[in-house]
């Protein structure tokens, strides 16, 4: 089979992407920042940094700490607010060679709906991702993703204001991710993004103080990959809508774990900081992998590790 004949395209709601690789929200600016280093036409989609109703200054510095196999960040949703964003930013996304997905964050159901309605009204925005799971805004942000009823409430409200593809981004910082995934699906989500960062903290033992200005932050990178793979596996068992797997993906083999666990697409965040060529490399190697195994499309392997694997008994048995 020739290399070019493998179908890597993916459908997420009504959104068709030529490649299954999304650039994770908050890690890729508007795409423009990476343009000198990557051919954006070879990127599935760029998920923009989350935008809120009012401008936000973000958290005090330092906002980043390197940790073993990953990093902690506490940016705190710095953004200029939806008004300025619509006026100054959005028009330039029209020229992007890859799809652009808007990300919305808020602190009330009304604000989620308000920001989504205004952002989704713009042609430059191909789909909306709801960030109901940012760990860096104290107690404000994460409550939605931690409660199935609140998740349903916010998803229903947003569903009511846009027909565009709606992706709901889940938090790993919960006890029952499957219940929240099912709740988001039932309320009208077209897809799930699994997972956002894990809450974490690092302390400077010389200065006796937290390393982050915000005290706590979100852990990303390879350190969270096994957690993310399990979350995708659990979500995939609970819903029928596509899942965008993310958390520490750096190589083709990392990406395959996510596809086999049930992700239809993947998002890459922290790995772009290591080497901006990684997303394109993963697509090339994915094509080779599928070709070598005689597959004609990526969809043939999605969720295959789910088949006949853990029985509920094994699965509930824990790891002790």
């Amino acid at each position: 089979m020739s290399r070019g004949s493998v179908d890597l395209s993916v459908t997420i709601g009504s959104l068709q992407l030529p490649y299954p690789t999304l650039m994770a929200s908050g890690c890729y600016g508007s795409g423009e920042e990476f343009e000198p280093f990557v051919d954006l036409a070879q990127i599935g989609a760029v998920v923009l940094k989350s935008v809120t109703r009012a401008p936000r200054l973000g958290n005090p510095m330092p906002r980043l700490v390197a940790t073993p196999a990953g990093m902690l960040n506490a940016i705190g949703l710095q953004n200029p607010g939806i008004d300025w964003y619509l006026e100054h930013e959005v028009a330039k996304f029209a020229k992007r060679p890859s799809a652009v997905i808007g990300s919305v964050a808020a602190f009330s159901v009304d604000d989620y709906a308000y920001v989504t309605e205004r952002l989704a009204a713009r042609d430059e925005i191909a789909a909306i991702e709801l960030n109901i799971s940012c760990p860096n805004v104290a107690s404000e942000g994460e409550t939605f993703a931690c409660d199935p009823d609140l998740t349903a409430k916010v998803v229903r409200a947003v569903r009511g204001v846009t027909g565009k593809t709606l992706i709901v981004k889940l938090s790993p910082n919960v006890t029952d991710l499957a219940a929240i995934a099912a709740s988001a699906e039932a309320a009208g989500a077209d897809a799930l993004a699994v997972i956002n960062t894990l809450r974490g903290m690092s302390i400077d033992v010389n200065a006796w103080k937290p390393r982050l200005g915000n005290v706590t932050g979100g852990l990303s990178g390879p350190a969270i990959r096994p957690v993310a793979v399990l979350a995708v596996y659990e979500a995939a068992r609970a819903v029928a809508i596509p899942i965008i797997g993310q958390g520490g993906i750096e190589t083709i083999s990392d990406a395959l774990e996510f596809f086999l666990a049930g992700a239809s697409a993947i998002a890459i965040g922290t790995a772009n900081f290591t080497d901006p060529r990684i997303p394109v490399r993963i697509v090339d190697e994915l094509r080779d992998y599928l070709t070598a195994r005689g597959h004609s499309s990526l969809s043939e392997i999605v969720g295959k590790a789910n088949v006949g694997f853990a029985t509920p008994f094994q699965y509930e048995g824990g790891e002790g």
Binding site: G26, C27, G29, F37, P55, G58, M61, A66, N73, D275
Partner: protein
């Protein structure tokens, strides 16, 4: 000929240990040299590719060879320090805005420790422009006043200080700057943040404009993550002026990697 930043694999040409734990790594990168401006940096990716990239100033850029000068201080710099002639590493750059030295006639350059890595290119450019350049160079001890002959050969006048008094003035380098008789028309500086703060203070006392190259922890290095910010004075800063949130009006956060790493001292909120 590429005319902007890019990411590429480059071959190591030479590696020298200038002092214990201080490494000079030369590599073949004519395209990088062709577009580098003084004060810019690269994200250097060790060959294992497993670790995050490290921000390092472009120390030399001439002909086909560029080099990085760094202190081994953690896992990533240790990995870079293990490279040998013929090995490859990946380089993303040149990144950031450099120093603005146009028109300066009499310049004081202040460098602390590894801050020296950012100031060779501006020193060379200034001397080419016919400016008088004095290098105020401070370090822990004489051992760590690395590569100063190169600055002398380039035509800089050298004033040195060491913390332990083993060479030059015993004390802070900014004390020499404050005591200098001939007032410069521009100060540029790179080093640890207490030194930069002291430099900004001396500059304002002297009534001289100063450009400071800041260091922050970087993740992306290209402006995509907003992780590397510093607060700038809203009124005097050139940084993009987003609307102010209701609760915080008088400063803006600018990205050190994108709007910097060089900022005018009067823009910074310490």
């Amino acid at each position: 000929m590429p005319n902007g930043p890019s990411v590429r694999d480059v071959r190591v040409l030479d590696r020298t240990e200038l002092a214990p734990g201080v490494v000079l790594l030369g590599f073949y990168a004519p395209e990088l040299v062709a577009v580098t401006r003084p004060g810019q940096f690269v994200m250097a990716i060790p060959p294992s590719g497993e670790r995050a990239a490290t921000a390092l100033a472009i120390y030399e850029a001439q002909g086909e060879r560029a080099s990085l000068l760094f202190f081994i201080c953690g896992a990533r710099t240790r990995e870079l320090a293990e490279l040998r002639t013929g090995d490859t590493l990946s380089i993303t750059g040149p990144l950031g805005n450099g120093f603005d030295v146009n028109g300066a006639r009499n310049v004081a350059i202040v460098a602390g420790g590894v801050g020296i890595a950012s100031v060779l290119l501006p020193a060379q450019m200034l001397i080419e422009q016919g400016a008088r350049v004095r290098l105020f160079y401070g370090a822990r001890s004489e051992n760590f006043l690395v590569d100063r002959e190169r600055f002398e050969r380039a035509g800089c006048e050298l004033c040195c200080a060491t913390d332990d008094g083993s060479f030059g003035h015993a004390g802070f380098i900014t004390e020499l700057l404050a005591a200098a008789e001939d007032k410069p028309d521009l100060i540029i500086a790179c080093g640890p943040s207490p030194m930069l703060r002291a430099t900004a203070f001396v500059a304002s006392e002297l009534g001289v404009r100063a450009q400071l190259s800041l260091e922050e922890t970087f993740a992306c290095g290209v402006g995509g993550c907003w992780g590397c910010v510093v607060p700038l004075d809203r009124k005097s800063s050139q940084a993009p002026r987003f609307p102010a949130p209701a609760n915080g009006g008088d400063f803006v956060y600018a990205r050190v990697c994108k709007e910097g790493p060089v900022f005018w001292a009067h823009e910074l909120r310490w």
